[in-house]
C-alpha cells in the first residue's frame, strides 16, 4: 500500500518543468532508464532499505547522533584496552537491527565470529557474508565489499595507517555504505567502547550465564563529540533487571 501511495505521489512532487523533462528525455535516449534516479529516491521507503540511516537497536540509538547508522559513515568498535571484553557483542548488536530490516552485511577477517550468537541477536544469516581469511590484500576486499554491501565490518590483521583508513572511509562515503572497523582504527566518525559490564546468573558451581549488562561508551567527532554511555542488556527483549544487591545472583537451573 505504501508503495502504491509513493508511486502516486512521485509525479506530483516532481515539477514537470523543462529541465526535468529534458533530463527524462536524455535518460530515455541513452538507455539509462532505471540507472538514473532523482535525488529524492535516495530518501527511500519506510522499510529501512534504501534509507539514509540504517536502523539500530533502540538501546543503541542514543549513541549515534543520527539515531542509526548513517550511510557513508565510519563507526568503529574498539577492541583494545582498558576492557577488551564485549566488543564482539557490540559489533553484532550494531549489525542486528539493520540486518533484520533487510540490509546486507559482511564481516571481514573474523574467523572466530560466533554465528549462533549473531542469530540470537537478530542478525539475518542469509544476508550476512563472511570473509574469514581475506589475506594480505584485505583493503582491496573491503573496498570491493563497500561497493554493494550496506554494512561492512572489518577486523584488520594489524595496525592500519591513517592514509589507508581515510581511503576506505572515503570509499564508504562515496558508495553510501557503513564501514565498521573492529580493533584499532584512526579517523572514525564514532568510536564505541565497552568500558564495563558483567554477567549474572552464575554462582559457585551452579546457575548459568543468563543476563549480561554491557556498558557501551562513545567518543567521536562533530555531533558525537559529547561522550555518552548506555547499558545494553542481553539477551534482548527482556526487561532490564533491577539493580541487584551485591553477591546475590539470580537463581536459575542449568539447561
Amino acid at each position: 500500500m505504501a508503495d502504491i501511495l509513493a508511486l502516486r505521489r512521485t509525479p506530483r512532487r516532481r515539477h514537470p518543468g523543462s529541465a526535468s523533462a529534458g533530463v527524462a528525455e536524455l535518460v530515455r535516449a541513452t538507455g539509462l532508464t532505471g540507472l538514473v534516479k532523482p535525488a529524492s529516491a535516495a530518501a527511500g521507503g519506510p522499510d529501512g532499505v534504501g534509507e539514509r540511516v540504517l536502523p539500530v537497536l533502540p538501546e543503541l540509538r542514543a549513541l549515534l547522533p543520527a539515531g542509526g547508522l548513517r550511510r557513508g559513515s565510519t563507526v568503529a568498535v574498539a577492541s583494545t584496552a582498558p576492557a577488551p571484553f564485549g566488543a564482539t557483542s557490540v559489533l553484532l548488536a550494531l549489525l542486528a537491527a539493520a540486518s533484520a530490516a533487510g540490509s546486507w552485511c559482511a564481516v571481514v577477517g573474523m574467523p572466530a565470529l560466533g554465528l549462533a550468537a549473531a542469530a540470537e541477536l537478530g542478525v539475518a544469516l542469509e544476508r550476512l557474508a563472511l570473509v574469514p581469511e581475506p589475506g594480505p590484500d584485505w583493503p582491496a576486499v573491503v573496498a570491493a565489499l563497500l561497493d554493494g554491501i550496506d554494512v561492512v565490518a572489518v577486523a584488520p590483521p594489524g595496525p592500519v595507517s591513517t592514509d589507508l583508513g581515510s581511503r576506505l572511509a572515503a570509499r564508504a562515503r562515496q558508495r553510501g555504505s557503513v564501514l565498521v572497523p573492529y580493533g584499532q582504527w584512526s579517523g572514525a566518525d564514532i568510536v564505541l567502547r565497552t568500558p564495563g559490564g558483567g554477567w549474572r546468573g552464575l554462582g559457585e558451581g551452579w546457575g548459568r550465564l543468563a543476563r549480561r549488562g554491557l556498558v557501551i561508551s562513545r567518543r567521536g567527532r562533530g555531533a558525537a563529540a559529547h561522550p555518552r554511555e548506555v547499558t545494553l542488556w542481553l539477551p534482548l527483549g527482556i526487561e532490564p533487571p533491577p539493580p541487584l544487591v551485591e553477591d546475590a545472583p539470580v537463581l536459575e537451573a542449568a539447561g
Binding site: 550468537a117 542449568a254 539447561g255
Partner: protein, 519 residues
C-alpha cells in the same frame, strides 16, 4: 511387429549397491524396501533368501546376510554408465527401469551380421566398460523381449506367441490379476492369451485387456528412446597465450555469448557454470560458479572475466613473491591457451522474472555481484555464509557454506544437552588449550561419575593466571559413541573470571580448552 532387444542386468539393486557402495556382491546380500527383500545376490538365493521375504525371515535363513537399504536413485545413477556403453554400439536406447534397457534389434542386428552377434557384442561391451554382467533377449515387443532376456533367449521372428505360451502367469507383474487368474485355473500366459479378448475386457477391465495383449505377444508400443543430453560445452583455443586481463575479458565475452546462444538454442538456462582454462605450461585450472538466479550472457561474461582476472593476477603475484597457491597445478598459471565453459545445473528456461516493483531485489543483486567479485579475488571458499543447524556446542550449531551454494537448513529440532542461549560471540576455530587449578594449585578433573575432584579456582591461559569468580558444570556430552572414529565424550563448564570475562570451557580426555568466549 518390431523386433526388440532387451539388455537385462540380473539383481540390479544388488549390483548397484556393489558398484557405488563397494559391497561385496558375491557374498549373500539382500536389498530391502519397507522390510521386504526386493532383490538378493546369487549367494543369498542359494541360502534360501527370496524376493518378498521379511527381514527377520531372510536373516533366519542366512544369518550372515548383508542388508542394504533400497535406493532407486542409486540404482539409476549406477545404470547410467551401462546405458552409455550400450549407446556406443547402438543408438536409441530406452531405459525400461534401472537394470533393464531396450533397443530396436534391427539396426545392430544388421550391422553386426546377426541378432546373436549383436547380443554377444553388447554383453561383451557392458562387461568390459562397466564390469557388469548382462543378459540379452530378443523378441517381438518389449514385454516378450524382457522375458526372453531373463533366460538369455533369442526368440525367432513370429514365434513370440509360442515362446510366451509356456511362461508362468506371474510374469505379468500384476499381483491382483494374477492371483485371480490362478484361482480361475489360468496358470500360463498361453492359457490367458487363449481367452477371448472381448470377454477379458468385459470381465476384468482395461488393464487386464492390456495384459491380455501382452500375453498374446501383441505388444505394439513403440520404444520411448532416450535423448542423449546435448553437448553444451564451448571451447576456444588461443594462438597467442592470454596474459593480460583485458584480452581475457574480451575472450570471455565472446565465449559467453556463444555459450548463451547455444543454451538459448536448446531452450535452456544454466544455474552453475564451470570454467576450465588450460595454460601454456600444461596446467589446468577449474572452478565452478554457482548462481541462485539464472546466468545471463553478461553474467557469464562477468564471471569469466573475474575468474581470469583472479588467475592472471595470481600468476603475476606468484612470479613476484614465489607464493604458491594450493589449487594451481604446475609451477605458475602462465598464459591461458584454451578456455572451456561448461554449463552445469541446466534448467528449462522459462523467461527471467523481474521484480514486481521495478527495482525490487536491486540491493540483493548488488550484494551478489560484489560477493561474487570477492570470490573471484580470493576463491569461492573465501566468502562464506552460515546456516543454522543442530548441535550441542556453539561450533557445531552453525555450518559454513561457500557463498552462492545452496543453503539447506535443517528443521528446527530440540537438541538435548545443547547449551542454553546466549551463545558465545567468539568461537575459536581451534579450541585454545588451558589449565584449571583448584585453590591449592592442584589440577582439577572430573571422575567417571561426573564429580569434580575439586572446585576450580584459577585458570592458566598460556602462562597467565586468572582467578575464577563463578562457574557452573560439568555438563556432559557423549556423542556418537557408536562410531569409534567420531565419538566425542566431554564435559562443558561456564566460567566467569574475576575481570568480568565469561568463558565456555571443555574438558575432554583430561585436557581443558576454551571453546567459546562470551565476548
Amino acid at each position: 511387429m518390431s523386433r526388440v532387444m532387451v539388455v537385462w542386468c540380473p539383481d540390479w539393486p544388488v549390483v548397484a549397491a556393489g558398484l557405488i557402495e563397494g559391497i561385496p556382491i558375491h557374498e549373500p546380500v539382500a536389498v530391502l524396501a519397507a522390510n521386504r527383500v526386493v532383490a538378493c545376490s546369487e549367494a543369498a538365493r542359494t541360502e534360501g533368501v527370496r524376493q518378498g521375504l521379511r527381514r527377520r525371515e531372510a536373516q533366519a535363513r542366512c544369518p550372515w546376510l548383508a542388508i542394504v537399504d533400497d535406493d532407486p536413485a542409486r540404482d539409476a545413477r549406477a545404470f547410467e554408465p551401462v546405458i552409455e556403453a550400450v549407446e556406443e554400439l547402438a543408438p536409441g536406447v530406452e531405459v525400461v527401469r534401472p537394470g533393464t534397457c531396450a533397443l530396436a534389434a534391427r539396426g545392430p542386428g544388421g550391422y553386426f551380421g546377426s541378432e546373436a552377434g549383436a547380443a554377444e557384442r553388447i554383453v561383451e561391451q557392458v562387461a568390459q566398460a562397466c564390469l557388469v554382467e548382462a543378459q540379452v533377449g530378443v523378441a517381438d515387443g518389449v514385454f516378450a523381449a524382457g522375458l526372453a532376456a531373463r533366460s538369455g533367449k533369442l526368440v525367432p521372428a513370429g514365434r513370440t506367441g509360442e515362446f510366451l505360451s509356456g511362461i508362468d502367469i506371474g510374469a505379468l507383474d500384476r499381483p491382483e490379476l494374477v492371483d485371480l487368474l490362478r484361482r480361475l485355473g489360468v496358470d500360463t500366459l498361453g492359457a490367458f492369451a487363449a481367452l477371448p479378448g472381448a470377454d477379458v475386457f468385459g470381465r476384468f477391465g482395461l488393464d487386464a485387456a492390456l495384459a491380455h495383449r501382452l500375453a498374446g505377444g501383441r505388444d505394439e508400443r513403440p520404444l520411448a528412446v532416450r535423448q542423449p543430453p546435448p553437448d553444451l560445452d564451448v571451447t576456444q583455443v588461443f594462438d597467442e597465450p592470454l596474459e593480460r586481463v583485458d584480452a581475457a575479458a574480451f575472450a570471455a565475452r565472446q565465449l559467453a555469448e556463444r555459450l548463451h546462444d547455444r543454451l538459448a538454442g536448446h531452450g535452456l538456462a544454466c544455474t552453475r557454470l564451470g570454467i576450465a582454462a588450460f595454460t601454456e605450461q600444461g596446467g589446468e585450472l577449474y572452478r565452478t560458479w554457482r548462481h541462485d538466479g539464472l546466468l545471463t550472457a553478461a553474467g557469464i561474461a562477468d564471471r569469466v572475466r573475474w575468474q581470469l582476472d583472479g588467475w592472471l593476477a595470481r600468476g603475476r603475484a606468484a612470479c613476484r613473491s614465489g607464493y604458491q597457491p594450493a589449487v594451481v597445478s604446475g609451477p605458475r598459471p602462465g598464459g591461458i591457451i584454451r578456455l572451456r565453459l561448461y554449463p552445469d545445473g541446466v534448467v528449462e528456461h522459462a523467461g527471467l522474472q523481474l521484480g514486481l516493483w521495478g527495482d525490487a531485489g536491486e540491493e540483493r543483486d548488488r550484494a551478489h555481484r560484489v560477493l561474487t567479485r570477492v570470490q573471484g579475488m580470493l576463491g569461492p571458499e573465501a566468502v562464506l555464509t552460515g546456516v543454522l543447524g543442530g548441535g550441542r556446542d556453539p561450533g557445531d550449531h552453525v555450518r559454513l557454506v561457500p557463498w552462492g551454494d545452496e543453503r539447506i537448513s535443517e528443521p528446527e529440532q530440540p537438541w538435548p544437552g545443547g547449551l542454553p542461549a546466549p551463545s558465545p560471540a567468539t568461537v575459536p576455530p581451534t579450541p585454545l588449550p588451558v589449565d584449571v587449578y583448584d585453590a591449592e594449585g592442584g589440577p582439577v578433573g572430573v571422575t567417571a561419575r561426573l564429580a569434580l575432584t575439586a572446585a576450580p579456582a584459577t585458570l592458566d591461559i598460556s602462562g597467565e593466571l586468572e582467578r575464577i569468580s563463578g562457574w557452573a558444570g560439568p555438563w556432559p556430552v557423549d556423542e556418537r559413541w557408536w562410531a569409534p572414529d567420531e565419538a566425542s565424550r566431554r564435559v562443558r563448564f561456564q566460567v566467569c573470571l574475576a575481570d568480568g570475562r565469561a568463558l565456555l570451557l571443555t574438558l575432554a580426555g583430561g585436557a581443558w580448552s576454551i571453546q567459546g568466549v562470551y565476548d
